[in-house]
């Protein structure tokens, strides 16, 4: 009995869905990484007692982040359609999903990074200042390297959250594993598709989590 015969839908469907999911999660994750870290650094240095202390900037930034974090992803997905059209040039497909995914993941990740940065021993910052480090040197040589285990752990959580959010991307026709599960597994009562998709998602999340944990462990053990 060959594999094709036992499957209710062609295996290519799974392959395409996996590629779509990886593409959405990978690209939006990378965007969140690039945008989230500077945002978190900005939050830390503008906080009271930070070396660029500016209550107003800190408050405005915090409010924007809170606003995006409070909005459910499925609402964000629809609400951001005008912006998506502007940025991605389309409102359907993988790229249409990447814009809202990245925008929802960035504030989430930024908050996690902020916590890690805040836990950096102030004594280290003081030591760096005493050694003649300028502000940027302190961010680069003290804050980011010292908080790296927390940042990596936070990024792992963000990726897992993105895998979960990307299931909703079917709403804008972006495909992906979650969309496959809803269209075939739920709407057509195809339990086989549902089971396979869930198994693949579990595997994906496990791999991401394991790589993240392993990296954090290595960083901490040095």
């Amino acid at each position: 009995m060959s594999l094709e015969l036992s499957l209710s839908i062609p295996i290519e469907r799974y392959g395409n869905a996996l590629v779509d999911t990886l593409q959405m999660v990978g690209i939006s994750g990378a965007l969140a990484l690039v945008a989230g870290i500077p945002l978190a650094v900005l939050l830390i240095v503008t906080a009271p007692g930070g070396f660029l202390a500016s209550p107003r900037v800190h408050r405005v930034l915090g409010s924007i982040i809170n606003g995006f974090r409070a909005t459910p992803f499925i609402v964000l997905l629809v609400a951001l359609i005008p912006l998506t059209r502007l940025v991605a040039g389309t409102t359907i497909g993988v790229w249409a999903a990447i814009v809202p995914l990245a925008i929802s993941a960035t504030p989430f990740f930024a908050r996690i990074v902020e916590v890690s940065l805040r836990e950096v021993d102030p004594g280290l910052v003081e030591a760096a200042q005493a050694l003649g480090c300028k502000k940027w040197d302190i961010v680069r040589h003290v804050y980011l390297p010292e908080a790296l285990p927390g940042i990596v752990g936070g990024f792992t959580i963000t990726l897992v959250a993105l895998i979960s959010s990307s299931a909703m991307a079917g709403a804008v026709g972006a495909g992906g594993l979650g969309d496959l599960a809803i269209r075939y597994g739920y709407q057509r009562f195809d339990t086989q598709v549902m089971v396979i998709v869930i198994a693949v998602l579990i595997l994906l999340v496990s791999v991401v989590q394991r790589i993240g944990d392993g990296y954090v462990r290595w960083l901490r053990q040095r």
């Binding site: 030591a127 760096a128 050694l131």
Partner: protein, 389 residues
């Protein structure tokens, strides 16, 4: 201990990174606030005061601090916790700014420096910390290299300089180790190497030995003293342990509630502590009479056989030494040494002898025994009498 030996051996006058230092300085601020001759490391505090605003109202952390620290000396600041030591030390590299008064480093009022000049100042003032404050994500090599990297020292020069510093503190074999794998003493050695990297003239030590065991403390103090002597760096250290001051400092400032309680050469302040704060800090180092003798002490001579208990004090100065033969002859009776604690600090003897004196009728001429050429001690105190057994 093995580390202190290697450190001492390798202390063959490492060259100061003059070229790199100056290049870096010029890069950050051409000319800088110290034009002309090379700075020496002279620090002066002029009527420095610092007031914090706390929820309970303003707190005077420092008040009327007026002092000068000679280049190349070791200056100790001691006081109980909360006396303002840390605040005082931190004003010197402007980690804290005083609310009144001025701080001058080589004649420049550091409050006038802009950001770039402040960075330049801090490269001339190294600092080490009680909890070492090493970067856990960087190797020993990279920790020491950091001040050089941020000053823009070229890679080839940097490598040699870091190796030199590693040799100076006796950690050549630890270059690629992460701080977590080091002992407390080794961490502080890395801290010292890092503080010396940019070739400073001044080294600030913030309770640098307070987290270390006595043996390691001794080794680190030896290293600091060697650095002071070989490189001519002004060392300013704060501590709450008198033993640290006694071991290495030239001058000592006793700080009490943010004010100067006492200031002077260590032998003088230790030999004749005038302020109650100094006396309290010195108490653990001094031995009094043993308790069983104290219990027997009577204020009037008992009727039977008895001894008079005397305390002879030496405060350094006047070349006065506890000359035992002269003491016995001068007191003129049967002289028994009960207990003594005498030590030499900076070539001055100070401490006290407890003596039991018997078979003397009347009272010796204390005046003559403490003054002029016939003096046997700086001060003689009759503590009381005990019955002879």
């Amino acid at each position: 201990m093995e580390l202190s030996i290697t450190a001492r051996q390798s202390l063959t006058a490492p060259s100061r990174p003059e070229a790199e230092h100056d290049a870096a300085a010029q890069a950050s601020a051409p000319g800088g606030p110290w034009p002309g001759s090379r700075p020496k490391g002279r620090v002066a505090l002029r009527q420095v005061g610092k007031t914090y605003l706390s929820s309970a109202g303003p707190v005077q952390a420092l008040q009327d601090i007026e002092l000068e620290i000679a280049p190349g000396s070791i200056f100790g600041i001691i006081g109980r916790s909360g006396a303002g030591k840390s605040s005082l030390l931190r004003t010197i590299n402007r980690l804290e700014t005083p609310t009144s008064g001025r701080i001058e480093v080589d004649g420049v009022d550091i409050a006038t420096l802009d950001d770039a000049q402040l960075v330049q100042l801090r490269r001339r003032i190294g600092m080490i910390f009680q909890h070492f404050n090493l970067l856990s994500a960087k190797t020993v090599f990279d920790n020491i290299a950091l001040p050089l990297r941020v000053a823009g020292v070229p890679r080839q020069q940097l490598e040699g300089r870091v190796r030199e510093l590693l040799a100076l503190v006796g950690l050549e074999d630890k270059a690629d180790t992460y701080p977590r794998r080091l002992s407390g003493g080794q961490k502080q050695r890395v801290g010292i190497a890092r503080a010396l990297a940019s070739g400073p003239e001044i080294l600030l030590c913030d309770e640098a030995t307070s987290a270390l065991d006595p043996e390691t403390t001794h080794a680190i103090l030896q290293l600091l003293r060697d650095i002071n002597r070989k490189l001519g760096i002004t060392v300013i250290l704060i501590t709450h342990e008198m033993s640290v001051i006694r071991e290495i400092a030239d001058q000592v400032l006793v700080l009490e509630q943010g004010r100067i309680a006492e200031l002077g050469p260590v032998w003088q302040v230790f030999g004749n502590p005038a302020h109650p704060a100094t006396q309290a800090l010195l108490a653990p180092l001094q031995q009094g009479l043993p308790p069983e003798l104290l219990d027997q002490l009577q204020t009037v001579p008992p009727s039977g056989l008895h001894e008079r208990i005397l305390q002879l004090q030496y405060r350094g100065g006047d070349g006065l030494e506890p000359d035992l033969l002269r003491v016995a002859q001068a007191l003129g009776g049967k002289t028994r040494l009960l207990q003594a604690s005498v030590e030499r600090i900076q070539g001055h003897t100070h401490g006290q002898l407890y003596i039991a004196l018997a078979d003397v009728t009347g009272s010796p001429d204390w005046q003559a025994l403490t003054q002029g050429p016939t003096a046997i001690a700086h001060h003689i105190k009759e503590l009381g009498y005990v019955t002879r057994t």
